[in-house]
């Protein structure tokens, strides 16, 4: 099934709750709001024609141009994206769902943006979301145990954010 058909099925089912559609991108994707995410993903998984039962990859992307000089022609305004790559075991096709988030929750620095967790739909989402939280700093509400998975538990900050400063030392070991 081609991406156009998938997007048309989603359009029929959800109508205007699909915020944006991009067909000519290399991997066609659909942008949804965090509130509808779980419902749309459940539909993607359970519908017979779609059958996206493998959540292959969850990535957090921080769109920010840190140094002001290049910020003007950076081509995007600072925001955060969580990208879900699905694959169907039955029908062997792929699809991408995106969630656009502000970099900080209602723009208070330090408050992580929140997205509902898909751990109830896909078991692998548990670990993928823990990694996105650990490295990019996105809070997944409803996650069984959202703790750091790659960095040590007492690590401060989320490294994959563009405005992350490297630690100068850690437990007495020189960093720089």
């Amino acid at each position: 099934m081609t991406s156009a058909e998938i997007i048309s099925i989603l359009d029929q089912k959800f109508g205007d709750r699909i915020k944006a559609k991009n067909l000519e991108a290399k991997d066609p994707f659909v942008v949804v709001t965090p509130t509808d995410l779980v419902e749309i993903c459940r539909y993607l998984r359970d519908d017979a024609r779609l059958g996206f039962d493998m959540l292959n990859c969850v990535s957090g992307v921080d769109y920010l141009e840190p140094d002001p000089k290049k910020a003007a022609k950076a081509g995007f305004d600072p925001h955060m994206e969580v990208v879900y790559h699905f694959q169907s075991f039955r029908n062997k096709h792929r699809f991408v769902v995106k969630v656009i988030l502000p970099r900080w929750k209602d723009d208070k620095a330090g408050e992580l943006p929140e997205v509902p967790s898909l751990a109830s739909l896909f078991n692998i989402a548990n670990w993928h979301e823990r990694e996105v939280y650990d490295l990019t700093g996105v809070w997944f509400t409803g996650h069984p145990d959202l703790t750091r998975i790659l960095l040590s538990d007492d690590w401060v900050g989320h490294p994959l954010r563009k405005d992350y400063e490297f630690p100068l030392e850690y437990h007495g070991i020189r960093g720089r």
């Binding site: 960095l151 040590s152 490294p159 992350y164 490297f166 630690p167 850690y170 437990h171 070991i173 020189r174 960093g175």
Partner: protein
């Protein structure tokens, strides 16, 4: 140190006894299996039959630090792993030696500039005897490092001079080893 250490002055008997002990230590350096990353695969290749590390008596890879006298740190040490490396080093019986195998362990390697989580060289964590550069170093390079460790053991004077076997702390760690009278480590 043991009861005998540093108790005798140099004479024909003690130096030959010392050489016998050093020869025994040098030709049975038991490494601890401490494979972290890509260098571990090259260490395994050194342990396999083509570049056989057993020719140097170091083929018995011991899993526990209790039975090992050589710690080959093979792979990138990151901040989460650093405390474990230090604890394993402490749990090894003396005399113990460390080979820093690979560019990542010698000085951060390819992860030096943007590695926020990488220790820039394992000598910030444990005193290192021999650095084996390379990414990953060839098995011959590791064998060369092992030979340098054996030279070091051959030159140890345990019986005659109560020799401090622990190494000076590199200045780049930011710590300085104070001399004894200023309250440094004795």
């Amino acid at each position: 140190m043991g009861w005998l250490e540093g108790r005798f002055e140099e004479s024909v008997i003690t130096t030959s006894l010392e050489q016998a002990i050093n020869w025994a230590r040098q030709s049975s350096m038991w490494p601890m299996t401490f494979g972290l990353a890509c260098c571990a695969i090259e260490m395994m290749a050194t342990g396999a039959s083509r570049f056989d590390i057993d020719r140097f008596g170091a083929g018995a890879f011991r899993a526990t630090p209790r039975q090992a006298d050589l710690m080959i740190v093979a792979g990138t040490v990151n901040y989460k792993m650093a405390s474990r490396v230090r604890r394993l080093y402490n749990q090894m019986p003396d005399p113990k030696f460390v080979i820093a195998m690979g560019a990542c362990t010698c000085g951060g390697g390819p992860y030096y500039k943007y590695g926020y989580n990488v220790v820039k060289g394992v000598d910030l964590v444990v005193p290192v005897d021999v650095y084996v550069p390379g990414c990953p170093p060839r098995p011959e390079a590791l064998l060369e490092g092992l030979m340098r460790i054996q030279d070091k053991v051959r030159g140890m004077k345990d019986l005659t001079k109560n020799q401090q076997t622990d190494l000076p702390i590199p200045s780049r760690t930011g710590y300085t080893l104070l001399p004894a009278e200023l309250g440094g480590a004795v």
